[in-house]
Each structure stands twice: as C-alpha cells, then as structure tokens.
Amino acid sequence: MPDEQALISALRRRDPGAFATVFERYADKIYRLAAGILEDEVEADGVVQDTFLRLFERLDSFEGRSRLGTWLYRVAYNGAVDRLRRRRPTVSLEAAGDGLGPAPALLADWSQLPEQALSTAEVQAALDEAIAALPEAYRTVFILREVERLSTDETAEIMSLSAGAVKVRLHRARLFLRERLAEQFARES
C-alpha cells in the first residue's frame, strides 16, 4: 500500500491504479457514514460520488493538512448533512440537551447470549432499528468512533466539534443503544 503522499502524487498524474487504491480504501467507509446519516442507500451512493468528484477537483490544491481519509470523511459528512437538511429543513441536527435517555432501566444480562443467538437477521434488524432511533448528532459520532474505529480527535475534526463533545455524545449513544437492545432482548427471552 503506497504511502499517502505518494498516493496523492499518483492521483495528480491521473494514475488509474491510484484511483483504484483510493476507491478500494475509502468508498465503503464513505458509504457507511453517509448511509448511517441519511438512512437511504441511493442518497448514500450520491454522497460517495460527490465526495470523490470533490477530491478530483481539489487534487492540485490538496495541501495535506489533514490525512486523506479524514478529509474524505469530512467532505462526506458535510455532504450527507446538507442532503439531510434539504430533506428535512425544519429538523434540528444539533445534539439535544441532557434529555437523551434516562439512566439504565433494563438490567437483564444478555451479554452472555451465545454467539449464534446474536447473529440472526432479527438481531441485525434490531441493531438497525436502534441506531436509526438515535438523533443524527449522536449517530454520526457512534459510527465514526465504533464502526469506523476513528479516534476522538479525528471524529472531532470531521464533525467540527470539540473532543469533549465527541466523548459526551459517544457516551450517551452507547447507553441509548444498550437500552434499546436490552428492550429487544428482553422481549425475545
């Protein structure tokens, strides 16, 4: 895998192999973030297209102040949020105050369920339903930190937040999702 500066130089030369490398490395990541924000696969494809087209436009002026991946995520995040605002202009995308979920109420221990029981289509549906119920501001932090495994600082840079705000949102998102899944598993057991 070429290093990032070499990759950007190859992209500037319009090397097809460099494009293939960047697409393989980032297309699914951008798609997951956009699909997570928009909950719409077709729109997520549009964000992938727009993000790469923006990269091609900016190649000659790309200064490398951010890592390429962070830059792509930031363009994709802004693109997805713009689409969301156009779709639902009256909905606030900001994080709610302290109202996201009460203290844990469901205390059944489902952490030891056998792996087989946790990999069914029903569980996948429960995971999708739970994360869809999270406000966007929390959902995006959770996706970037837990699914994409980015650091707090990278997530903060992508979303133009402080590191402290990322930590708070991640904490609330984890507890919210835990509670939702506990409800689901309590119903099943």
Partner: protein
C-alpha cells in the same frame, strides 16, 4: 464510588481513559454491584455487535457501477463530467 458515578465514568472506564485511582474505585464498585456489572457487560456487548455487524459495504453491482463512473470522471473520459 456510587452507581451514578460509575455510570458517568462508564465510557471512560471502557476506553481505559480513567486514572489509576478512579479505575480502582470503579473496579471495587463493579465487584460488589451486580446491576452496574450488567450495564457494563451489556454496553460492551452493544459496542461489540455494532463493530462486528455494522461494517456493511456498497452492494456489489452498485459498487462496480460507481467505480466505473468515477474512474471515467477521474480519467476525464467523460468530457461532460456528468454522472
């Protein structure tokens, strides 16, 4: 450490961001509080499930089409740049 304090520190505990003193206090509380242990275990399991099952990919046929369209734009084969 109380249950409320444990809950406030839960993410930092999971991420191993607490200092030694708070980590020890959290561990002491967890050793004697079944409810907090369940919240910790199920939160960690929640994170695990999303990490394992949240990594969806662009479906293959659409992925291939996206690749071809973007490659054409990249190589400027498509002079209009119209995708």
């Amino acid at each position: 450490m109380t249950c409320d304090e444990l809950l406030a520190y839960l993410s930092d505990y999971i991420d191993q961001n607490l200092d030694a003193e708070l980590t020890a206090a959290a561990q002491e509380h967890l050793a004697s509080c079944q409810n907090c242990r369940v919240v910790l275990d199920t939160t960690q399991q929640t994170i695990f499930l999303y990490r394992e099952q949240g990594r969806r990919q662009i479906p293959a046929s659409r992925r291939q089409r996206l690749f071809e369209q973007l490659e054409a734009a990249f190589l400027k084969k498509d002079s209009d740049g119209d995708l």
